[in-house]
């Protein structure tokens, strides 16, 4: 329970630890009229730890920065500040053999296996290439044996080896992509929307496969998704991302069962499995990361802030988005640990909000 709360002291037991990581993309300065270059804060001060063998989920909408965070984890992007440690070693500053060694430990599985496999290579070529890149299992016979082992692990058979990606079904393609990710015996898999491109009936197969592999290969999972059902099913801890920051993080039972941040509450309401028309519909869309709102970045859409402003008009100010509490508009909220539970919500009024336990699905 407390593992999720210890987000500051590193420990050797963590497969992945991320401390205060930011990634800013700097645009071009306007040629005329002065002004400074626009900065997009794709990831802004994110911290979390994933103990060995656990599953951490990153939830967010498009534009929340969750994909940038995934790329920071696997070293495809370098952080502007902060530190990403994989298996105790910092990712930044590695190069050559050390970087390749690190990359062997942490593998990325992408959403759309149709796009993530080279259309002109057979399954065997794709899998063998991964071994060649890392110089594992030297010798063609040894590589063939390893490929056959992994194919069996992901539930494909020898007949699939000579097929091209387009000759496989969606589920088989995703199995091949997973095989490529695990063939070099990694410790961590970063799964970017691993099932959302698949058919409903196949999704469950792949989820089951991933859970089996996690168990049998003692893998650590980092899942990036927008599907809260998947989070509830697979993850131990979760971070809810909005405009580059975690607005709420903690163990899944607490965050999904009793969300404290209004954004998490809206997400839960929007994706609950209940038939009834759930909660208020969240207005507007996620603002551009080039112009993150002042104060609490969620204040432009926050339904709770509107209620609070109506309740305490004296402490409210007028904004283009209606009358809102002054603190929400002006002060950036700091993370607030839950009184008894194991979650942290970055909201001024996290515990002053009317409790809205999301209806759990039957």
């Amino acid at each position: 329970m407390s593992a999720a709360l210890r987000i500051d002291q590193p420990s050797s037991d963590e497969a992945v630890s991320v401390s205060n990581v930011s990634r800013h993309f700097v645009g071009r300065r306007p040629l005329f009229g002065g002004g400074s270059a626009p900065v997009a804060r794709a990831v802004d001060g994110v911290s979390f730890r994933a103990p060995r063998g656990s599953c951490f989920a990153i939830v967010g909408e498009s534009g929340s920065g969750k994909s940038s965070l995934a790329r920071l984890l696997v070293g495809l992007l370098q952080p502007t500040s902060g530190e990403v440690r994989v298996d105790g070693a910092a990712v930044a500053g590695l190069d050559g053999a050390a970087l390749r060694g690190l990359r062997r430990k942490i593998q990325l599985v992408l959403q759309d296996p149709r796009a993530s496999l080279d259309p002109r290579m057979t399954v065997f070529d794709t899998l063998e290439e991964a071994l060649q890149v890392h110089g594992l299992h030297p010798g063609r016979d040894a590589r063939q044996a390893r490929v056959a082992d992994v194919m069996a692990l992901v539930g494909l058979n020898a007949a699939h080896l000579d097929r091209y990606p387009h000759e496989l079904s969606g589920g088989q393609r995703q199995r091949a992509a997973i095989a490529r990710a695990i063939i070099c015996e990694p410790e961590i898999l970063v799964l970017d929307e691993p099932v959302s491109a698949l058919d409903v009936s196949v999704q469950a197969q792949i989820i089951n496969l991933l859970m089996e592999l996690k168990q049998s290969l003692s893998l650590t999972f980092i899942i990036i998704t927008h599907d809260l059902g998947l989070v509830e099913h697979m993850a131990d801890s979760v971070g809810v991302m909005y405009l580059g920051r975690f607005v709420e993080q903690g163990v899944v039972e607490d965050v999904c069962g009793a969300p404290r941040h209004p954004y998490t509450q809206s997400l839960m309401a929007a994706s609950s499995h209940h038939g009834a028309e759930a909660g208020a519909v969240l207005e507007g869309s996620i603002p551009s990361p080039l112009a993150v709102p002042t104060g609490c970045s969620f204040h432009t859409r926050c339904p709770a802030a509107r209620v609070l402003a109506a309740r305490a008009p004296a402490a409210a100010v007028d904004t283009p988005h209606g009358r809102l509490p002054r603190r929400c508009v002006q002060d950036q909220p700091s993370p607030m640990p839950a009184p008894g539970g194991a979650s942290i919500a970055t909201c001024h009024f996290a515990d002053a909000l009317p409790a809205q336990p999301a209806p759990r699905s039957a």
């Binding site: 909408e61 498009s62 790329r71 070293g75 495809l76 970087l99 990359r103 062997r104 593998q107 990325l108 992408l110 959403q111 759309d112 149709r114 796009a115 993530s116 080279d118 259309p119 002109r120 290579m121 290439e129 991964a130 890149v133 890392h134 091209y164 387009h166 079904s169 969606g170 992509a177 490529r180 058919d199 409903v200 009936s201 196949v202 999704q203 469950a204 197969q205 989820i207 089951n208 089996e212 927008h226 599907d227 809260l228 059902g229 998947l230 099913h233 809206s266 997400l267 929007a270 994706s271 499995h273 038939g275 009834a276 028309e277 759930a278 519909v281 969240l282 869309s285 699905s361 039957a362």
Partner: protein, 653 residues
């Protein structure tokens, strides 16, 4: 993606359309020859190649032998193309010149390819200053006319065949480099390249094993097209006396020599000119055909029915009578509908006997996986299925009491305009990026009416207000890219509503959107439905959406409805084993971390369905009972809904 796959399958016809089959070189060839321009181009190119190889051997007379008694003779039995000013046989000279002429073309293109492609690929890979320098240099090169540039090079290096090759090659380098850079950039943006980097693959491996094979199609096409222009540049040089030096014949040089006699002896210029023009045409045709084969936008809609097939065109089955049952005419009535893709191998049934009734003011959700035929069904109802690709084998579709099957294209368009609105999954591609939102909306409003500009504008403003877009006056002047995904979908909905349809068809309208935006769009659709009393047919794979939004649901599997009824009842207690499995395999519903009750196997492929019940191979209820294999279960009423299972009663909890 489910829908995307469906749509692709619909365009290309059989699902798993072999878009870019790496294995089958023969397929590429077949697809070239199946186009008239490809067949002609390929035949001509082969002819020219044979000419270049065997031409000199075939020459009937000595091409160098001068005969001053026989100068400038018109074509005759001895000299088929006449003789030139030195009395040499023009026909023989043309045959001999083929090799030099075509050799310069091939050499020039090869030179440009070998220099330009590595430059472009490197520029795309390195980016930064290298890219900037290469691109600026290319811009400078492109700002000179080709022939001037080539002239300058030959003038410096001296006139001979080898230098001509270099000159015409250099001229084409910028085009190769530019194209190679552009396609490399797009391949580098593919997720599998990112996956390779994260795997730890070296750049050289990525370039050689992944980028080059994937860009080869485009570059091959470009080479063929550039061959024609290279040939012409080379001949231009020959014409100016800077090409192959006499007495060796080359078509451009021959043309140049014929210049002085163009008035008195036009035949001298005609024949080399014809051969030259023919070769340029041949390579252009072939290049065009190749482009159709490799072009991503033509992929999937490439005519499966070749021009040969079109001669023996299958007959479209006539439509059934429009169904008008009871007093209230339903907004949509589909009876016994069977649809089939036309494929080279014959008809491939994708919708196998579907009945649907949708009353005004209600929402019907059709749920299914990729390949279930749900998108084909929707497109047929939307009257968007092209008869050349999809055949209505049997059954009827009636929209607001009017039959939508077997109409002329004009009548179909009229029906669609008056009664049907369609919202697609991907709003971004449903809008034209270069037109303002106002222009696109106005177009939809104006069709079939004679409103003046002010009235059209007023209507556009009202429509945008209807879909909840504030400040509509200003938004009309904006372009699609200035809107977020959710806003774009609102605009697409506004366009669909422009003609006050009775029936709104929505194909996965929210699956490309974020969860919170999905809710907004669904709330909007529901609100509009309430105000207009419109019927909505929605195609989706998302059971949560069905639960929240639909009144009725029809679960589709392998082209048939397996269970249909009121959404609440069907979702609460599904009876068909597929519907049951679908509901229980959604994560979040079961115990955390425990294995999900997954449906074994893969969704079936159209065209290879098992006999009897199509769900049989994946079904847990059949347990090998002979009924399931013997005949396909018909939909029958059970517990207030229709279920197509021999043992539907066993599904009761």
């Amino acid at each position: 993606m489910t829908a995307a796959m469906d749509t692709m399958a619909l365009g290309a016809t059989p699902p798993r359309a072999e878009a870019r089959t790496p294995r089958s070189r023969w397929l590429t060839l077949r697809r070239i020859v199946s186009q008239p321009k490809g067949a002609i181009g390929l035949a001509l190119v082969l002819g020219y190649l044979l000419l270049a190889i065997f031409g000199p051997m075939l020459a009937p007379l000595d091409p160098f032998k001068q005969n001053f008694a026989q100068t400038l003779k018109p074509p005759s039995a001895l000299h088929w193309f006449g003789t030139d000013q030195l009395g040499r046989d023009v026909f023989s000279r043309i045959l001999l010149g083929a090799r030099a002429t075509l050799g310069v073309g091939v050499g020039g293109v090869a030179f440009a390819f070998l220099v330009g492609v590595p430059l472009g690929v490197l520029a795309a890979w390195r980016r930064g200053w290298f890219d900037a320098i290469v691109m600026r240099a290319i811009d400078v090169m492109l700002s000179f006319p080709d022939i001037v540039f080539a002239l300058a090079i030959v003038a410096i290096l001296g006139a001979n065949t080898q230098n001509v090759i270099i000159a015409v090659g250099v001229v084409s380098i910028p085009i190769f480099a530019r194209t190679a850079r552009a396609v490399t950039l797009s391949i580098l943006a593919e997720p599998y390249v990112e996956g390779l980097s994260s795997l730890g693959a070296r750049p050289s491996r990525i370039i050689l094993r992944h980028v080059l094979p994937n860009i080869s199609g485009t570059l091959l096409t470009l080479s063929t097209l550039l061959f024609a222009s290279t040939l012409l540049s080379a001949s231009g040089l020959g014409f100016l006396g800077l090409g192959t030096q006499p007495p060796f014949p080359e078509w451009g040089t021959m043309l140049g020599e014929a210049r002085s006699y163009i008035r008195s002896h036009p035949h001298l210029a005609t024949f080399p000119g014809l051969f030259l023009a023919g070769s340029a045409l041949a390579f252009n045709l072939l290049g065009d055909a190749l482009r159709t084969v490799y072009d991503p936008t033509s992929r999937g809609v490439a005519p499966r029915r070749s021009w040969l097939d079109r001669l023996r065109r299958a007959k479209v089955a006539p439509a059934g009578a429009p169904a008008g049952e009871g007093d209230a005419v339903p907004a949509l009535s589909v009876r016994g509908l069977r649809l089939a893709f036309r494929t080279p191998a014959g008809l491939l049934e994708v919708v196998r006997g579907v009945d649907l009734t949708l009353q005004a003011g209600r929402t019907l959700a059709v749920v299914g996986e990729s390949g279930s035929g749900k998108t084909s069904l929707l497109r047929a109802v939307a009257t968007l299925a092209t008869p050349a690709q999809v055949a209505v084998v049997e059954g009827s579709i009636a929209v607001g009491g009017e039959s939508a099957v077997g109409l002329s294209p004009a009548a179909l368009m009229e029906l669609r305009r008056r009664k049907i609105g369609v919202v697609f999954q991907d709003a971004a591609s449903a809008l034209n990026p270069v037109l303002t939102v106002g222009a696109q909306l106005a177009e939809a409003v104006r069709i079939g009416t004679d409103l003046d500009a002010a009235a059209v504008r007023a209507r556009c403003v009202a429509l945008l207000e209807d879909v909840g877009i504030s400040d509509p006056e200003r938004r009309l002047a904006m372009y699609p890219h200035q809107f977020s995904g959710g806003m774009k979908q609102r605009i697409v909905i506004a366009i669909a509503l422009a003609q006050d349809p009775q029936l709104l068809l929505a194909d996965e309208p929210t699956s490309a959107l974020d969860v919170t935006i999905q809710q907004q769009i669904l709330a909007l659709l529901r609100d509009i439905q309430r105000r207009r009393g419109m019927a909505i047919l929605i195609v989706t794979h998302d059971l949560n959406l069905v639960a929240r939004f639909a009144d009725d649901v029809a679960v589709m599997y392998a082209g048939s409805l397996v269970e249909a009824g009121e959404a609440a009842a069907v979702l609460r207690s599904p009876l068909h084993p597929y519907a049951q499995a679908l509901r229980s395999s959604v994560p979040g519903g079961s115990r955390r971390g425990a294995p999900l009750p997954a449906i074994a196997g893969e969704p079936p492929m159209v065209g290879s369905l098992p006999g009897g019940c199509a769900f049989r191979p994946r079904c847990e209820r059949t347990r090998g009972r002979p009924e399931c294999a013997a005949r396909e279960p018909a939909a029958r009423p059970v517990d207030g809904r229709l279920v197509a299972c021999h043992f539907a009663e066993e599904g009761r909890a």
